[in-house]
């Protein structure tokens, strides 16, 4: 992890305005391969906006994004997906009436071989099989591949969304407040899941408000405040006071 290697993804001097609201004012962000980096900041710091830009949902007004050192344009979510970047949104973006396998493969369905496939016939058994494998590899606690997602608990839904992202990403998974709606036990399970995604070699960005959680799961922390990055820490070398200080403006790093 860390500074020895080149960053996987870099945001450089990103600006984004919404009318008179200056959401991002020259914001930087770095993500290195194989690390869990926490993005923290108070409400209105610009976290969600930055995530949307990194995921290709919104274009920046100014600034550049470098993927493995090369400038890239993330004009839409599929552009980010082609680079191996998947995002788990706060609202999960699951189709509640479909089962976990259908959700995992949504938009990327496997079809049967031959003429049936040409007609668009789905290979349901193969998708169910691969879904089971994905859940098993990630240790996601999803009991059924065939019940509608709507009938499942928040933790299970979150697990499905994270598994989907981890299945299709090969470089980076971005998780926007993955534990905000979850209980203690379920939150722990999702954080474990995030670590396992990292252990498979991917980078993970976790947006969070929850300081103990950040300290537990992340390798590094980057702090946003008023649309700029104001501090960077190695998790092993920081503590709650420093993080809160950076978030509130009491602590400023010159080189951030």
């Amino acid at each position: 992890m860390g500074d020895a290697t080149e960053p996987l993804l870099q945001a450089r001097g990103i600006y984004k305005n919404f009318g008179h609201v200056r959401a991002l004012r020259g914001c930087d962000f770095d993500i290195y391969p194989g690390e869990v980096v926490a993005m923290i900041g108070d409400n209105g710091a610009g976290k969600s906006t930055l995530v949307k830009i990194l995921a290709g949902v919104q274009p920046p007004d100014d600034g550049e994004i470098l993927f493995e050192g090369q400038p890239v344009t993330l004009s839409d979510p599929t552009a980010a997906q082609r680079l191996g970047i998947e995002t788990v949104y706060q609202d999960l973006a699951l189709a509640p009436d479909l089962d976990p396998a259908a959700n995992l493969f949504l938009g990327r369905e496997l079809v049967k071989p031959g003429i049936l496939g040409k007609l668009g016939f789905l290979d349901t058994p193969r998708m169910a099989e691969q879904t089971r494998t994905a859940f098993k590899n990630l240790g996601a606690g999803v009991q059924s591949e065939t019940d509608a997602v709507a009938s499942m608990s928040g933790g299970q839904r979150q697990s499905i969304a994270v598994s989907r992202a981890a299945t299709w990403a090969n470089r980076l998974v971005i998780m926007d407040e993955p534990t905000a709606a979850l209980g203690v036990v379920q939150s722990k399970a999702v954080l474990e899941l995030a670590k396992r995604v990292r252990d498979q070699g991917m980078a993970v960005v976790i947006i969070s408000h929850n300081m103990p959680e950040v300290l537990e799961v992340s390798d590094r922390v980057e702090v946003l405040r008023l649309g700029q990055r104001v501090a960077r820490f190695r998790t092993s070398e920081t503590d709650m006071d420093q993080l809160v200080g950076a978030m509130t403006g009491a602590l400023v790093q010159e080189d951030a």
């Binding site: 979510p77 599929t78 997906q81 949104y89 609202d91 999960l92 973006a93 699951l94 189709a95 509640p96 009436d97 479909l98 259908a102 959700n103 949504l106 938009g107 990327r108 369905e109 079809v111 007609l119 668009g120 016939f121 789905l122 349901t124 240790g139 606690g141 009991q143 509608a148 709507a150 009938s151 499942m152 608990s153 933790g155 299970q156 209980g183 036990v185 379920q186 722990k188 399970a189 474990e192």
Partner: protein, 348 residues
Amino acid sequence: MMAELREQDQAVADREAEDAQPERKRWVQMLTDSTAFIFIALLGMVVAFTVLRPEAFASVNNLRNIAIAASILLVLSIGQTFVITTAGIDISVGSVLVFSGVVAALVMAEVNGGQGWAAVLVGTVAALLAGAFWGLVNGLLITKAQLPPLIVTLGTFGGVLGFAKVLTGGINLRTVPNVLIETLGIGRLFGVIPWLVILALVITTIAGITMRFTRFGRYTIAIGSSEEAARRVGINVDRHLLKVYLVSGVLAGIGGMMSLARFTNTTIQGHDTDNLQSIASVVIGGTSLFGGIATMFGTLVGVFIPTTLQNGFVILRIQPFWQEVAVGAVLIVAVYVDQLKRRARDRL
């Protein structure tokens, strides 16, 4: 440690599931196992009409009449099922049916003096194109102009019927080739099953397979379940919705030919409640008006509710207008049940 966590998670989930399942919930669930329930309701209606007028209602001839009456409605309702599954609605189906029939009749009059298979073929193509055109108009207004489906199809419901009347001066055209009337109109397979019914069943089967087993069906359900989710995974939602409204239009075009064959004229005045009837049939059948839940088999059963009611009322010499009252009421009840079902599920 994970195994333990998962067990706890499971225990919590189980407890939540139990809490959400008191007596009332189970009652709701039974009531809302829609297809089964509707089947029973339909059976009850058949029994009631049979008891009241056994000789008139329960005859082979009359049951065949019911099936014929249901067949055109079924074809419209199949398109409606696709549309409603996307959480949309198509109020224009009856008008598009009439328009397609009018266009077909006008075109057929120009071919071989309005008789023969060549005329039928050309007329069919014309009807399909006319239906496809209005389906496309609906779809484009909904996806590109981003207008609500209810408003768009309410507009085309009125406008398209207006066009049909303009084309004919408001008079019903009767240029329907005899070969069409004798085959599709009154012909039967083995002298038993009307071709109208067979055509409707074939379409229903194809539609059912499409909805259940193909990517087209999967996207239809996904968009109705969560349009945002579908968009975010990269499904071209607009293009798919366009196809769905196109399908509804084309099926209305087929309905136009079926209607010509059956009634031997363009029945301009005869389809003003087709939208109500098809929407009711679809929702009664168990497809959710809020999108994401589809059952073609349910629609197949559903269309027999309005048609059997109509038939039974006529036989009992009750004013048939009561059927419209009943169907309207049943639609509202069906949507209410749909809503109960959704709430019960989301509380889990």
